[in-house]
């Protein structure tokens, strides 16, 4: 799932039109000077609906992912975050080889952080992905 999600983000036109190749796993590299940028990381993963067929059952997992939209201006961060949310919220279908049964938005929050003498805006979006394993 993780590698398929990364590839999906790197190749989807909505994401590339906003961020180009500024999509990073975990944290923003210190040398990034162009914004907005997108980072993502997995927060948790658990198995859904285990049953007595295990270990031979068809498995379904849920994973909580955090996406951070980072920009120098609030307007840019919020607009980009809205586009990411439109893409991911209630997504159903395939990401690479992974069949995603649902994506549910669980949280959106706005943050501000200082980088040197600059303020940046960070919109955090959390989603729960349920997918076939």
């Amino acid at each position: 799932m993780h590698s398929d999600l990364f590839k999906f983000l790197r190749e989807h036109s909505v994401i590339t039109s906003l961020f180009a190749d500024r999509v990073y796993h975990m944290s923003l590299p210190t040398n990034v000077q162009t914004f907005p940028a997108l980072t993502f990381q997995q927060i948790a993963q658990s198995e859904e609906a285990p049953d007595f067929e295990a270990p031979n059952d068809d498995k379904m997992d849920s994973a909580l992912y955090q996406f951070d939209v980072i920009a120098e201006k609030s307007h840019d961060a919020i607009l980009a975050a809205d586009s990411v949310n439109t893409l991911l919220r209630n997504f159903r279908g395939t990401m690479g080889a992974t069949n995603v049964q649902s994506v549910e938005m669980t949280n959106i929050s706005h943050n501000e952080e200082r980088s040197g003498d600059k303020l940046r805006r960070r919109v955090i979006l959390d989603y729960s992905f349920t997918f076939d394993v």
Binding site: E48, A49, D51, F52, E53
Partner: protein, 146 residues
């Protein structure tokens, strides 16, 4: 023996019981079970106190083996689930088999054979949750343990 986590398999025979004996039947496993309850063993108390008695006297009536209730993740391709749902809409007794397994290696610890009839099949589709089914099989006659 060490304690074991629960792991069981539930099977429904294709033949009509008791005409087809368990040993001659073909069984479909009810797949993807998450919980299995029963058989339960209970007897009514029959009082036979009389004027000769010095205290209340009872004996146990015939054993009622109760019912099997099961919960499973809905598997549209599973023949056992399909059979159970079909039987819930009819009046057919089947050979029912439960295997108790050792989760470490799936070896069979015990098998229970009994005749039963599927009395309930309840489907539960809740948004954001796995599609599950609960069912009930009423048991008739003796449970044979091997």
């Amino acid at each position: 023996m060490a304690k074991v986590l629960s792991k069981s398999k539930l099977y429904i025979g294709q033949g009509v019981a008791p005409g087809v004996a368990p040993g001659a039947d073909t069984f479909d496993q009810v797949g993807n079970v998450t919980a299995l309850s029963g058989p339960s063993y209970s007897k009514d108390e029959v009082e036979h106190t009389d004027m000769e008695s010095t205290a209340k006297e009872f004996f146990g009536d015939l054993t009622d083996y109760g019912e099997i209730t099961f919960t499973c993740n809905r598997n549209f391709g599973n023949a056992g689930q399909t059979a159970a749902r079909t039987d819930a809409g009819g009046q057919t007794k089947r050979n029912i088999k439960i295997e108790r397994l050792d989760p470490a290696d799936d070896s069979v610890l015990e098998t229970a054979d009994v005749i039963g009839e599927v009395m309930e099949w309840n489907e539960d589709a809740t948004q954001g949750s796995p599609f599950t089914v609960t069912g009930r099989i009423k048991l008739s006659g003796t449970v044979t343990i091997t």
